[in-house]
Structures are given as structure tokens and as C-alpha cells.
């Protein structure tokens, strides 16, 4: 299984078992921006991981080392002089700098994922409703709301290596469109049309889970993103879409 090379792995020359375990910490990523998100994840992981281990070790060490012994007297430090407080304030300042670094690294990725989407002529309208996903394609005329629209329930076909635009809508309650492998999550809010996008890098079937509580069927709002290579996608379009703009309204998909 060819996986994307991640930032941390370039830091580790050999792949020990620890690295293999870490490799499985996140599901395989198959979107163009997912790798960027994962980079930020691993950046945070290593920064806070090291701080965390250091803090726990110091705490544990000091508890072990300074257990009460007869005759031993505790130090008398109030930590109220600048010199003593520096022991706390300097690490806190470093934390501040690292935090800002994390935000800086994250901001551009956020902008890429949630900001303006790259141009595309593939648009799918995603209707999340209690309790399934309806995918609507504009059909050959490339317009929604016309007779040649194609709908599909719970399965969304998309081509690999193409930017896909989504228009998310809900007629009832809030849902959330979540495809772990695409690193894509976006709430679907009734009353608005929310746009999202992705570009898949690898053919395959990737599951969609609803990740906002939407009622008793929430757990069963499972769907699939079926990423196909160009030929297979074209074949699917040929089979399920009406042949021309002179639409025959009965030709929609029967999935």
C-alpha cells in the first residue's frame, strides 16, 4: 500500500515499530489537502508530545525524589521574585511562541481547505436528510433543477484527480458530511447552502459518516464516496446519466 510520505517520517531515517504504529494513527489520506492537514497534525503531535512527556517526567521525578524523609526540609520558594518566576514565565513564553507557530502553520492550510475552492466544472449537490445522503448531479446540461438532473442515494461517484465542488443542503436538521479518508468535514445546516470541495488522489470507495447528531438514525447515515479513474467514471456517467440535454426525466439513476 503506497502511502503518502509524511513530514515526521522524513525526520526518522529508519522505520522502527514505533513509526509503524504512528503510521496507523490516522486513516489513509486520499485527498490533495489531506496531507497538509496531517502535516499540521504531526507538527502539533511532536510539539505537545515532547512538552507533555517533559512535564510528566519532571512531575514524577520530583514526587519520587522529594518524598518526605525524616530531617529533610522543603525549600522555601514563593516564586514571587522575577528571578524565580522566570522558571515559569520563560517556559510559558516558549509555549506562547510554539502556539503561535502552530497557528501560523495551520492558517494557510485552513485557507486552502476552507477558503476559495479551485475552479472546477464538477458540482455535486449533497442533500443530507434524516437519515441518508442524496447526491444530485446537474446532468448533461450542467444546471440544477432541470429535468435531466441525476440523483443517487448514499453513493457519490467522482473521478480521481479532479476538483469536485459540493453544495451541501439539508431540509431538516443539522448533519455533518464527514469523509475521514478525504480529511473533509463540513456541517450541513438547514436554510443555507454551504460549499466545500476536494480532490481525490486515489481510486477506491471511502466511507461517509454523519458526524453531527441528527436523530435516532444518526448512527446509520453511512454513505460512500466512490472515487473512480477517468474511464470508469465516464462509464458510470454513460450508464446512469441521460444521454443528451434533451432530457428524459425517467433516466435517473436507480441506485
Amino acid at each position: 500500500m503506497a502511502r503518502r510520505v509524511r513530514l515526521w517520517r522524513t525526520c526518522l531515517n529508519n522505520r522502527g515499530t514505533a513509526a509503524t504504529v504512528l503510521d496507523h494513527l490516522l486513516p489513509i489520506n486520499v485527498s490533495t489537502f489531506g496531507g497538509d492537514i496531517d502535516h499540521v497534525f504531526w507538527l502539533i503531535f511532536w510539539i505537545v508530545g515532547l512538552w507533555f512527556i517533559a512535564a510528566e517526567c519532571i512531575l514524577l521525578y520530583s514526587v519520587m525524589r522529594h518524598r518526605r524523609k525524616a530531617g529533610a526540609v522543603a525549600a522555601f520558594w514563593r516564586g514571587d521574585t522575577p528571578r524565580q518566576l522566570a522558571w515559569v514565565l520563560i517556559p510559558a513564553f516558549v509555549v506562547l511562541c510554539l502556539d503561535l507557530g502552530i497557528d501560523y502553520a495551520g492558517a494557510s492550510v485552513w485557507e486552502r481547505v476552507k477558503g476559495n475552492a479551485p475552479a472546477s466544472n464538477i458540482v455535486v449537490r449533497v442533500t443530507a436528510k434524516q437519515f441518508n445522503w442524496i447526491f444530485t448531479y446537474p446532468g448533461p446540461d450542467n444546471k440544477f433543477g432541470t429535468a435531466d438532473d441525476v440523483t443517487s442515494e448514499n453513493d457519490m461517484h467522482v473521478p480521481v484527480g479532479k476538483v469536485v465542488h459540493l453544495e451541501l443542503e439539508s431540509p431538516d436538521v443539522i448533519h455533518s458530511f464527514f469523509v475521514p479518508n478525504l480529511r473533509l468535514k463540513q456541517d450541513v445546516v438547514p436554510g443555507r447552502t454551504i460549499r466545500a470541495w476536494f480532490e481525490a488522489t486515489k481510486a477506491g470507495t471511502y466511507e461517509i459518516a454523519c458526524s453531527e447528531l441528527c436523530g435516532f438514525g444518526h448512527y446509520s447515515m453511512q454513505g460512500n464516496v466512490i472515487v473512480q479513474n477517468q474511464a470508469a467514471y465516464a462509464a458510470w456517467v454513460r450508464e446512469t446519466w441521460p444521454r443528451s440535454t434533451a432530457a428524459s426525466s425517467s433516466a435517473s439513476s436507480k441506485n
Partner: protein, 570 residues
């Protein structure tokens, strides 16, 4: 200052009802809060058990309950969250400890408004009754999550829940009213009834944290009370504040909820920290490191908590250009907490550490909270939150913040102040067994849930067999559930200890831990109006191991000798 001393000393009321039921004595009220929160903790713990059993062994009848359906499951998750946050953590940390300790620690005879105090408890009691009743009404209990997002919570057609949701709103609104009254009392008491010499910068940190929590609560809850009213009107009067078909906006509810909801985390966390901060210096025999830095950090965290709420809404559909600014404020809030945590570690460093049960719980709470703190950075970054939002990673993260403060902090407080509450000591061996079981099992519940979350496992999922990508996650749920059962059974030594010590525990002396703060300068338990003579405060609360002093603790009431002056000069 000093108003308390002017008031006449009242006799304790004679009748049973006036004395123990509708009492205005803050100590009695504190015990009522304690009892209520522990009773509700049974509900919270039992619902946790139901949730966990279902996730490990779906398709089976839950022992002690029976089969469970997806709608029950949502209701149980909703009740679990609501009960734990509003009816366990708050009554426990604010109601019980705040009420008991604020007057004692500042040297007052009671709260500033004893009757308001009585009313706030009974309002909370009513709220608990309403919530409990709501679990048994036709249509079932509320099932829209403890966050009650609209429109799911707004119209019964989406959940089938009718009365349950209305009563939920009522219960939560009553709870808010109760803690509003309580908060006013905390604040007024601390500002007005301090004993002579008890300046603001001689207050024990717990008092600072309780009143900061009270202020944060007072300032944040208003919009949500309005929101709750709007939700109720949507449901009952056909308005459409949150209904898009009538021109309303579901996101408005999210903003109102989280404008309160995030500060609420600090309302719970600060008193929990406060307890740890009282316990650590006593068992390390060392002054708090950076007392003032802690206070300023607490205030800073309180203020910052008002400008981070939208980190719960990164992928909600709000304007994505808002996200980065909320990421920055969110991650900034880690700085005051870093200062507090580092200063706590510095307090432990080179102490003379006695690992008695209260200290174990305080240190254990600090050590586990750290995981909650660092994982907050992952969900505070809008970028990584795209993936992590709404998954078990979030569930594990907030349990790692709330559980340590509520239960590690709370248990540290019980083991530490039990002698003051009830005049008897608790058993140390049982206490230690309780600690280690809680520590090990708690981590064994939630570390697997982090891993589940990292695979993208959504939360509030009744059953996950329809998802292929969650198949590898199932063992994590198994471990978490077994550990949950261990965690719950691990509370038995506590229950036994608590009950047994009430009748058989060793009689406590006034100051069994040789601590400095004022509550230890009076009998255990304290007499009706707390102090025989009004204490005069002469010094800071944490004078332990002062060089040159005759013993390693100097009570706050002890007049300042020349020794300290020389110690400071060297």
C-alpha cells in the same frame, strides 16, 4: 470587610426542618449540595455504563437495564452529559466546596445572603427533580445531546421527543437560576465578609478560583438563558428563532450555547484547580509558587474564555474567515493554563512530599489534566479540527479535562476536608486503593477512545457495524467498556470509606494536616457560626517551611514575627 463581625451571633435554629432541611447555614447547605451531587453522580455513572456497554456489545441486553434502541441511546447520552456537567460537576465543585469553604476560608460566619443560599440549593433541587421526571415522561427524555442543537431540539417531529425536551429546557434554566443566585452570594461574601486582615491577596487560591468561576458564570449565562427561552418559544408558541423555514437561524443557537458553553468549562475547571492548589502546598510543605501569577493567570483565563467560543464551530458553516482568529485566542488560552500548571509543578519541586490520599488525587488530577490540556491544542487548531471535530477524540479530550477537575479534584477535596465537614478522618488504605483504581481505569477508558477518534470514529453513535472503517476500532471500545466497569466498581472503596468513616472514623482534631488557612483554625466540624472568636489574619495563606520558624507551618492568624523579615531579606 468586617460586616460579619457586626452581625449578632445567632443561635442555631432548634427544629429538625429548620436545622437540616431548610437550613440557612452554609455548612449544612454545602452538605446538601454534596449529597445531591453524589446522588446525581450515580445517574451520571450509570448512564456512562449504559453507553459503554452498548458500544462494546451492541445487540445484547444490558445487565441491569435491558435492550436499548437508537432513540434511547441518544437520550441516555444527552442525560449523561447534562447530568455530569450541570448536576454533578457544578454542585460538587461550586455548590459543596464553594459553600463550605468560602466563609470558612475568609473568616466569615456565613454567606452574605443565607436565605438566598437556601433558595439556590432548593432551586437546584427542583431542577434535579424536573430533570429526573423528564426521563420518564411520554415521548422519552431529551435526545438532542447536551448541546441541544436546533432544529433537532426545536421541533418534536425530528426526535419524537415532546415533554422530555421542554422539561430539559426548564431543568437547565432552573439550574442556571440556582447558580446565578449562588454566584452572587459567593462574590458578595468574598468582597464584604472577609475577616480583619484578610486582604484580597491573602485569600486562599481556592477562593479566588471560586469567585472567578462565579463571575465567569454570571457573565456568560445570560445569553443562553435568553436562548433557552427562545427555544422554548419556538417549541411552544410557534416562533422561529432557530427555524430556517420561518427565517430563523440554527447557528444562532450554537453561538448562544457556546458563548456560555466554553466559559462553563472554566466554571468547572477553576474550582477543581483551586482544590488541588489548596492540597498541594500542605502535603509538599511548601508555599504556592507564584501565588500572584496564579491569580493573574486565573483572571486572564477567565477573560479569554469569552472570546474562544467559536472554536466549537469551525466546521459549522460560519464564515471560514473567522476561524483563524478563534484558533489564535483558543491557543492563547493555553498560556495562562501553562503558567498555572508549571507553577503547580514548581510548587511540588523540592517539597517534602507526603503522598497521602488527598495529595495523590491532587497530583493525579494534575497529571491527567495535562493530557486534556495538550490535546486541546489539536482541536483548538481549526485545521486539525476539520478532521477531529465531532469524533471520539473530542470525547476523550474533554473527559481528560472535566474528569480530572471534577473527580480527581473533587476527591482530593473530600479526602482533605472530610475531617472539617464531618469531624472524622477517612481511612487512608481504602483511599489509596480508590485512587489507584480510579487513575488506572480512567486512563484505560479514554486513551483507547483517543485512538478511536483518530480513526475518525464519530461520537454519539449508537452502533457502528455498518461502517467498514470502524471495524479496527471495535477493540478500543471493548477496552474502554471493561475499564469503565472497573472505574465504576473502583468507586466502591470510596463509598464504603465515606459511610464507614462517618460513624467509625477516627475523631478529627481541628487541624489534622497542619495547614495554615482559616478553616483549620476552628473545630472539626466548625461550630454553628464557624469561629468562636473572629480570626484576625496576619499573613499569607501558604507559609510552609519558613526558614528559621519553629515549625514548618504558620497559620494565617499567627502574628508576624521578626523571623519572616529576616527570611525575606536574605
Amino acid at each position: 470587610m468586617g460586616a460579619a463581625q457586626v452581625r449578632d451571633s445567632h443561635e442555631q435554629p432548634a427544629g429538625f426542618i429548620r436545622r437540616y432541611v431548610f437550613s440557612t447555614d452554609h455548612k449544612v447547605i454545602a452538605k446538601q449540595y454534596l449529597l445531591l451531587s453524589l446522588a446525581m453522580a450515580l445517574v451520571g455513572g450509570f448512564t456512562a455504563y449504559l453507553i459503554r456497554w452498548q458500544l462494546a456489545w451492541p445487540e445484547t441486553d444490558i445487565p441491569g437495564w435491558g435492550p436499548i434502541g437508537p432513540d434511547n441511546f441518544n437520550a441516555i447520552v444527552t442525560m449523561h452529559g447534562t447530568v455530569m456537567v450541570f448536576f454533578v460537576a457544578m454542585p460538587f465543585l461550586l455548590g459543596a466546596f464553594g459553600n463550605f469553604l468560602i466563609p470558612l476560608m475568609i473568616g466569615a460566619r456565613d454567606m452574605a445572603f443565607p436565605r438566598l443560599n437556601l433558595m439556590s440549593f432548593w432551586t437546584l433541587f427542583t431542577a434535579s427533580v424536573v430533570l429526573t421526571v423528564s426521563m420518564f415522561v411520554p415521548g422519552g427524555p431529551a435526545a438532542a445531546g447536551w448541546t441541544s442543537y436546533a432544529p433537532l431540539s426545536d421541533n418534536y417531529i425530528y426526535t419524537g421527543v415532546t415533554w422530555g425536551q421542554d422539561l430539559w429546557i426548564l431543568a437547565v434554566a432552573l439550574e442556571f437560576a440556582s447558580f446565578l443566585m449562588g454566584g452572587i452570594n459567593f462574590l458578595t461574601t468574598t468582597l464584604n465578609l472577609r475577616a480583619p486582615g484578610m486582604t484580597l491577596f491573602r485569600l486562599p487560591l481556592l477562593v479566588w478560583m471560586e469567585i472567578t468561576a462565579a463571575v465567569v458564570f454570571l457573565l456568560s449565562v445570560g445569553p443562553l438563558i435568553a436562548g433557552a427561552l427562545m427555544l422554548l418559544m419556538d417549541r411552544k408558541l410557534g416562533t422561529s428563532f432557530f427555524r430556517p423555514d420561518g427565517g430563523g437561524d440554527p447557528l444562532l443557537w450554537e453561538h448562544l450555547f457556546w458563548f456560555f458553553g466554553h466559559p462553563e468549562v472554566y466554571v468547572v475547571a477553576l474550582p477543581g484547580f483551586g482544590i488541588m492548589l489548596e492540597v498541594i502546598p500542605v502535603f509538599a510543605r511548601k508555599p504556592i509558587f507564584g501565588y500572584r501569577a496564579m491569580i493573574w493567570s486565573t483572571i486572564a483565563a477567565g477573560l479569554l474564555s469569552f472570546v474562544v467560543w467559536a472554536h466549537h464551530m469551525f466546521v459549522s458553516g460560519m464564515d471560514p474567515r473567522l476561524a483563524t482568529s478563534f484558533s489564535v485566542t483558543t491557543i492563547l488560552i493555553s498560556v495562562p493554563f501553562a503558567i498555572i500548571v508549571f507553577a503547580m509543578i514548581a510548587t511540588v519541586w523540592r517539597g517534602s512530599i507526603d503522598l497521602a490520599t488527598p495529595m495523590l488525587f491532587a497530583l493525579g488530577g494534575l497529571a491527567t489534566f495535562l493530557i486534556g490540556g495538550v490535546t486541546g491544542i489539536f482541536v483548538g487548531s481549526a485545521t486539525t479540527d476539520i478532521f477531529l471535530h465531532g469524533t471520539y477524540f473530542v470525547v476523550a479530550h474533554f473527559h481528560y479535562t472535566l474528569f480530572p477537575v471534577t473527580f480527581f479534584g473533587g476527591f482530593a477535596g473530600i479526602y482533605y476536608w472530610y475531617p472539617k465537614f464531618f469531624g472524622r478522618m477517612m481511612n487512608e488504605t481504602l483511599g489509596k486503593i480508590h485512587f489507584y483504581l480510579t487513575l488506572v481505569c480512567f486512563n484505560a477508558v479514554f486513551i483507547p477512545l483517543f485512538l478511536a477518534g483518530l480513526q475518525g470514529n464519530p461520537r454519539r453513535i449508537y452502533e457502528m457495524s455498518s461502517y467498514d472503517f470502524l471495524k479496527p476500532v471495535q477493540p478500543m471500545h471493548l477496552i474502554a467498556t471493561i475499564a469503565t466497569i472497573g472505574l465504576l466498581l473502583g468507586q466502591l472503596p470510596f463509598v464504603i470509606n465515606f459511610g464507614y468513616s462517618l460513624v467509625r472514623g477516627k475523631k478529627a482534631v481541628a487541624n489534622p494536616w497542619q495547614a495554615n488557612t482559616l478553616e483549620w483554625m476552628t473545630d472539626s466540624p466548625p461550630p454553628h457560626e464557624n469561629f468562636r472568636t473572629v480570626p484576625i489574619v496576619c499573613r499569607d495563606p501558604y507559609e510552609y517551611s519558613v526558614p528559621g520558624a519553629s515549625r514548618d507551618w504558620i497559620p494565617q492568624t499567627e502574628p508576624e514575627p521578626a523571623v519572616l523579615a529576616t527570611a525575606a531579606a536574605e
